[in-house]
Structure formats: C-alpha cells, structure tokens
Amino acid sequence: MPVAVGPYGQTQPSCFDRVKMGFMMGFAVGMAAGAMFGTFSCLRIGMRGRELMGGVGKTMMQSGGTFGTFMAIGMGIRC
C-alpha cells in the first residue's frame, strides 16, 4: 500500500491531482507540437493569412486534447 506521508512531511497528491497534472502537461506538450506540425501541414495544403491562423489553432487544440487525454490515462494507470 502506498503511504500517505512523504519524507518531508508532505502529503500525497491524490490520484485525481496526478491525472489532472498529466492532462495539463499533455495539453501543453500537445499545443506546442500542434503549433509546429500544424503550421507545416497547413502551409503545405496552401493555407495563408487568417485561414492559416484558424487551421493552426484547430490543430493545436486537437493535438492538445489528444495528448492531454493520453497523458492523463498514462498517469491514471500508474496510480
């Protein structure tokens, strides 16, 4: 059984906290990755200007959500 108190008298972050942290970290990573890869793929299919901004934003949100979900699951299964 995991013990609740750390060596510095710190309380254990709950499972939900860790899942949340994983989601936030995954979301940040996914946003950054989506910004890079989304820019490339949107430029390749010929988007420019305002349309490009929209396309990149959409890719960023999508990949952020995907990464966040997977990271949250990854944290959840190691609880």
Binding site: P2, G6, Q10, V29, T66, T69, I73, M75, I77
Partner: protein
C-alpha cells in the same frame, strides 16, 4: 513513517511530490541499501535512477499498450458513435465495433513505440553512462526512424525529426514541471537541476534505517 515496505515494493513521495517507486530486493531488508529506483516516466524524466534496469522495458511496453488501448477505446467510442447510422442501437453497436477493432490496434502500436523507445533509452543509459534529456530525445528520434524504415530514407528522416521534437517537448515540460513543483515548496531543501542520487532520498533512508 516515510515509507512502507509491502510485497518487496517501496513507495514514497520525493520532495517534488512525485511518485517514486523502488523495487527493493531482499538486500534492503537486511539493511544493505541497494535499491532499484525507477519512477513514473510521465512525471519527471530527470529524477530517474538506475533506469537501465531491463524490466523497465517490459513495464513501459505494457504501460504503453494499456494507455493506447484505453485512450483508443475512448476516442474510437466517440468516433464509432458519430459515424454509425442513426438510431441508438446502431450507434451503440457502431461504437462497440469501433472499440473492438481499433483500440487493440492502437494499443499495439503504442506498445511497439514504447517498447522500442524504452529499449533504446536503456541502451543509451548503459552505453553513455549518464542520464539526461538527450537520451530520451535521441531514443525518440531513433525509434521514429526505425519504425519508418520500411518507407524509405525520406520518411525515416521526417519520422525521426517528429519523434525527437516530440520527446524534446515532453522532456522540456517535465523539466519545467519539476522546477515549478520544487519552487512551490520553499521550506524543503532545494536541489539543482540534476539531483545526485544520494542526497535526495537521504532523509528517507535516515528514517528508514531507524526502523530496521
């Protein structure tokens, strides 16, 4: 009590509030501190100890499969539900079919990625004799390249760049998270970027020995 022994596995929380698991051998019970530390790789990649243990490969492979299967299940449930013909029973059945066909596939590809990545990472730790973010970045790039090897050199380079950038982002996020987490606890002793193995668990080992 800072740590618990149960079934040969020790758990505690380090300064950063991150979960650290160590599989202790029988030697730990005799007071000889020879522990295999490993940590959750999704928390802080730079607080790893002795992560060249070969069991880490199996662990990562299985963890990646589980992660892919569960995540794939969630996403494919939504996708199958939306793509099925109208009618609740059709949608439910479509969702179930999508989960059953696609989730294990995604889990399998995650497992391949995770297993190969972990293998290269462990190999690099052994060969280079040190653990830093470059290990993960290199192994991410090499994993991407190897898995795209059948698609030709151009695809290999692209895939390697993608893997390297992705792992660099993850490592960077881990480092930032560690810095943020350690700045939140100003009362505890602060470590530098790369804590040496000895100082960090020292207080717990001090306590630990008292219990022997």
């Amino acid at each position: 009590m800072p740590l618990a022994l149960s079934g040969g596995v020790m758990y505690w929380y380090d300064l950063n509030g991150l979960f650290t698991v160590s599989r202790n051998s029988w030697r730990a019970q005799t007071g000889e501190v020879d522990l295999l530390f490993r940590h959750n790789e999704y928390s802080t990649p730079n607080v790893k100890f002795h992560s060249s243990s070969p069991w880490r490969i199996v662990d990562d492979c299985g963890g990646a499969f589980t992660m892919g299967a569960i995540g794939g299940g969630i996403f494919q449930a939504v996708k199958g539900f939306r793509n099925a013909p109208a009618g609740m029973s059709h949608r439910m059945r479509g969702s179930m079919t999508a989960i059953k066909t696609r989730a294990p596939q995604l889990g399998g590809s995650f497992a391949v990625w995770g297993g190969l990545f972990s293998m290269i990472d462990c190999g690099l730790v052994k060969v280079r004799g040190k653990e830093d973010p470059w290990n993960s970045i290199t192994s991410g790039a090499m994993t991407g390249a190897i898995l795209a090897a059948r698609n030709g050199p151009v695809a290999m380079v692209g895939s390697a760049a993608m893997g390297g950038i992705l792992l660099a982002l993850i490592e960077g996020a881990g480092i930032l998270l560690t810095r943020f987490a350690s700045s939140q606890f100003p009362t505890g002793p602060q470590f530098a970027e790369e804590p040496a193995p000895a100082p960090m668990p020292a207080p717990s080992f001090g306590d630990y020995r008292q219990y022997q």
